[in-house]
Symmetry: C2
Subunit: 467 residues, 2 copies
C-alpha cells in the first residue's frame, strides 16, 4: 500500500530524533511538571534541547535562550510556554524549519473569542510554513516503543500495541490495572492534526494492533474523509471509540473543553456503524475492549457456553447474552452425554451449566470438574465462546479455576473465554487467571458479555470485508 502523505509528517511526533522544549522548566518535583525530566525518566535517547532564557543548563542538558540559538536540525518542538507567548513560539519554530510542533497550553478555541482567533492564527502560520501542529490544549504524543513522550506529567507507558487517539490528557494517563499507552496522539483542540490524520497513521503502523479513539467532535467538512480512512483502518484492525458530547449538555461541555463542534450524535452513530467502528459508552468499557482485542481471539458466531457454580448467576448471564444479541448455546448431544456422568441422576445437563452439584453432591474434585466442563464446551461445535463464572469463595487450590482453565484454553486458541469472579478471593485469583493473557477476567457479568458481543461483531465485520 502506498504510504499517505501524513505518515512521514506524523512519525516525527512519535519517533523524533531530536526534540526542543520551549519553556523547559528548571524545577522538578511532585507538583512541578517537567518535560525534560519526563523524557529522561522514560528513557528517551534522542537529542534534547531545552529553551529557557533564564537557564544555561537543565537537568544536565545545555539550555538555549532562544529557538534560533539551538544548533542544527530539530525534528519536534514542544511549546510549553503560557498561552500568551505561544504564537511567537510557533513563529520561531516555523522559522527554524521545524516541521512538527506540539502546543500544550489551554486557552485557545477551548476558551473565548480571543482564544479562537489565536488558534486560527497558529494554524495559518504552520500551514504556510509547511509544518504540522498537535494541540493546543494537549498532552501531545507518546510512544512506549520509542521511549518518548511530550507529556508534562509522568506516564506509565508499556510496549502494548494499542494506538490511542484522544482529546483529553486523562486518557493518556492510563488507568489503575490497565495502562493502555502504547502509542498516543492527544489531539486536544485538534486545530490542525485531527482524527483522520492520526487514524491513517495508526492503521498503517505495524506496531499498532488495536486503535482506540476518544472523540468529542469532528469538523463537518472532514466527515467523508473520516469514513474513508476509518473503513480502511477497520479492514486491518479493530477501531474502538468512546464518543462523548453525545447529549445536549455533553455537547455544551465539549464546546468549552476543546472548542469542537459536536453535532448530532445520531450522525456519529451512523458513521461508526457504516465503518464498523465499535462504540464504548464509558472509559472502563473502552479499556475492556482494548484488553479483549489485544489478547482474545475473535468470536466466530454468537453462541455462548456458560459455566457457573450458581444457577442464579447463570440466569443473569443468559439475560445479558440476549440483551447483547448473543445466544445461549444449545449444547450438542455428545456434550450432554459427556457431562451427564458428573452429575446426580435428577440433574439435567443444560446451558448455562451449573457445575455446583458435581462437586457438592457427587464429590468430584472441583479442579477436575472445571477442566472437564470447559473442555466439553469448547470442543462443542455449537459453542463459539465460553463465559466462566468462577467462585473463589475460599482460599486454596480447589476453588481456583486458573490452572485448569489456562491449560484447556491452550487447546482451543480460536474461541474466546471470559471470566467473572465472585467470592472473597476473587481478586487474588484474577492475577493467576490472567497470567498468560489467554483469557481475561471482567469486573461484572454485563461487561464480560459486552466484550464477547464486540469480539463477535468485529469478526462479522471482517468477514464482510473479505467476501
Amino acid at each position: 500500500m502506498a504510504m499517505s502523505i501524513s505518515i512521514p509528517e506524523l512519525r516525527k511526533f512519535l519517533e523524533p530524533e531530536s526534540v526542543m522544549i520551549l519553556g523547559a522548566s528548571r524545577v522538578v518535583g511532585e507538583d512541578n511538571p517537567n518535560i525534560v525530566a519526563n523524557l529522561i525518566d522514560c528513557g528517551y535517547s534522542g537529542k534534547i534541547y531545552p529553551v529557557n532564557k533564564n537557564a544555561t543548563e537543565i537537568l544536565g542538558f545545555k539550555a538555549y535562550p532562544r529557538v534560533k540559538d539551538v544548533p542544527g536540525k530539530v525534528e519536534l518542538a514542544i511549546i510549553a510556554t503560557p498561552r500568551d507567548t505561544v504564537l511567537q513560539g510557533v513563529r520561531d519554530c516555523v522559522d527554524k524549519g521545524i516541521k512538527a510542533i506540539v502546543i500544550l497550553a489551554q486557552g485557545f478555541a477551548d476558551s473565548n473569542k480571543e482564544g479562537r482567533i489565536l488558534q486560527e492564527e497558529i494554524v495559518h502560520i504552520v500551514r504556510k510554513g509547511g509544518s504540522r501542529v498537535l494541540g493546543p490544549n494537549t498532552f501531545g504524543s507518546s510512544n512506549a516503543f520509542f521511549n518518548f513522550t511530550t507529556a508534562f506529567r509522568p506516564l506509565l507507558m508499556e510496549k502494548i500495541p494499542i494506538g490511542l487517539i484522544c482529546q483529553t490528557g486523562s486518557l493518556v494517563m492510563g488507568f489503575p490495572n490497565f495502562k493502555f499507552i502504547g502509542k498516543c496522539f492527544d489531539l486536544g483542540n485538534s486545530a490542525d492534526i485531527d482524527f483522520i490524520d492520526a487514524l491513517e497513521y495508526f492503521s498503517n503502523d505495524p506496531e499498532v494492533k488495536v486503535i482506540a479513539l476518544h472523540m468529542e467532535g469532528l469538523k463537518e467538512a472532514r466527515g467523508r474523509d473520516f469514513i474513508k480512512v476509518a473503513k480502511k483502518a477497520v479492514e486491518k484492525k479493530p477501531v474502538l471509540v468512546l464518543k462523548t458530547g453525545r447529549s445536549v449538555q455533553g455537547e455544551k461541555s465539549a464546546s468549552s473543553h476543546t472548542g469542537c463542534m459536536v453535532g448530532d450524535d445520531k450522525v456519529y452513530s451512523g458513521a461508526f456503524k457504516q465503518c464498523g467502528i465499535i462504540r464504548a459508552n464509558d472509559i472502563d468499557e473502552l479499556a475492556d475492549l482494548c484488553r479483549a482485542f489485544l489478547y482474545l481471539p475473535l468470536m466466530r458466531s454468537n453462541r455462548v457456553g456458560v459455566i457457573t457454580g450458581s444457577g442464579g448467576i447463570g440466569t443473569l448471564v443468559a439475560d445479558f447474552c440476549e440483551e447483547n444479541g448473543l445466544r445461549v448455546a444449545q449444547l450438542s448431544h455428545n456434550t450432554i452425554c459427556e457431562l451427564d456422568k458428573l452429575f446426580p441422576s435428577w440433574f439435567s445437563v443444560s446451558n448455562p451449566l451449573d457445575i455446583a452439584p458435581a462437586a457438592t453432591i457427587m464429590g468430584h474434585p472441583r479442579q477436575e470438574t472445571y477442566r472437564i466442563a470447559l473442555r466439553s464446551l469448547l470442543k462443542d461445535d455449537n459453542v463459539d465462546a465460553v463465559m466462566f463464572v468462577g467462585a473463589p469463595i475460599a482460599q486454596g487450590e480447589s476453588w481456583d479455576p486458573s490452572q485448569p482453565a489456562i491449560e484447556v484454553i491452550r487447546e482451543f486458541p480460536y474461541k474466546p473465554v471470559v471470566f467473572w469472579l465472585y467470592g472473597h478471593y476473587a481478586l487474588d485469583v484474577t492475577d493467576r487467571i490472567e497470567k498468560e493473557n489467554s483469557t481475561l477476567v471482567f469486573p461484572s457479568v454485563s461487561r464480560a458479555i459486552k466484550v464477547l458481543h464486540s469480539l463477535w461483531y468485529y469478526y462479522h465485520i471482517k468477514s464482510e470485508y473479505t467476501q
Copy 2:
C-alpha cells in the same frame, strides 16, 4: 403498626435460640462444608444440636442419632441431608413441633417432575403441621446482628443494616470490597416462604435500613400481595431489586435454577415502578445502590455540580447526567464570581468545572482548590449533588482530594457527593476518601451517575408518600 402474622414466624430463621442440624457433618476443612463449624466461627451463642446417626459428638457438641432424640425445644431445623432423605427429615421436624425449617438440598422444583412433586409434598406437610420452610435449594438465612447463619460455606458477615432477599447463594457470599450481608433470606426455590413474607419482615425490622432483592420469579397469585407489601416497605426504606430471567433465554435458565415461573419482564417493570422499587441491572449495580443508600443522603432535586481536572471527563459526566434524567446544574452568579478568582482571565467558569487551570496555570495549591471548588458548589442552591472526578496521578498529598473533601462534606450533610478517580494512585486514595463513608468512590462515571439518579428518584418517591 400491628405486626403481621409472618413476623414472629420468620424471626426464628434469623434469631433462633436453638438450632438443630440434620445431617451435620463430622468432617471439616476447605472442601468440606460444615454448618456446625460455620456457626462456631460466626460466634453463634444459641444451642446447637447436631443430628448424625454415625456420631456421638461433633466439634464439641453432643450429636443425636435421630430428630426425636434431641431433648427439649428446637426453634430452627437445618436439613442438610441429600435430596432423597429430605422428605422424611421434614416429617420428623414437623412431628417434633419445629416451626422453622431450612432445606439446603438441590433437586426439587429446580430439577425434574419427581423433584417438583417432592417439593409439593414438603409444602403440604409443613403447612399441615403449622411450620414454615425456607428453600429448598438455598443457603438459608443469615444474621450478622445475631451472629447466625445456616449457610454451609463460610461467610464474611458484618453488622450492616441491609436486608437481602435472594434466590441464589452467590449473593449471600458477598463481594470483594463490599460485603452486604447484614441479614439475609436466601429463598432458593421459595416453595413456602417467599418475597412477600421476607419483604414484610424486613420492612418492619428496625435493624434493616435498606432492602435488596434478587428475584427470579414470583408466583402469579402473589402479585397483588407483593405490590401491597412492597408499597408499605418503600414508604419506610429504599427497596432495590436485581430482577433476572428478564429475557427469553434468562427465563428458561431461571426455570431450571429455581423452578420459578418467571413471566413477562414488562409486568415486573410495571409493578416495580408502581411500588417505587429501584431496579439494578447487574450485581455490581445492586452493590452500588446498597452502599449509596446506606451512606449517602438523598438528592433533593436533579441538578448535578461537577468538579473535574479534565474537561474531557466533564463532557462524559454531562452525557451520563442527561442519559439518566439529571441536569448539569446552572451555577449561580455568586458561585461563578467566587470561583472566578481562581482562574486565568480567559477562563470562563462553568459547570462541569475544570479545575486544572487553577493549579497548572495560576499555581493555586491543589488541595485548597479542591476545598474551595467543592464548598462553592455545595453551598449553591442550584446544586443538589456533586460528582467529583479526582485524578491522583502522582503520589503525595497535593493530588489527594480526600481530606478537603471529607471536611467540606461535613458542612453539607444533606447533599450527596460521589467520586470517580483515575490515575495511578486511584486505588490508594479510594480508601482515604471512603474513610468516614460520608462520600463514596464508584468505579466508573456511569455507575456514579446512576447512583445519583437513584438517590434523587427515591427522594421523589418519598415526597409523594408524604404529600
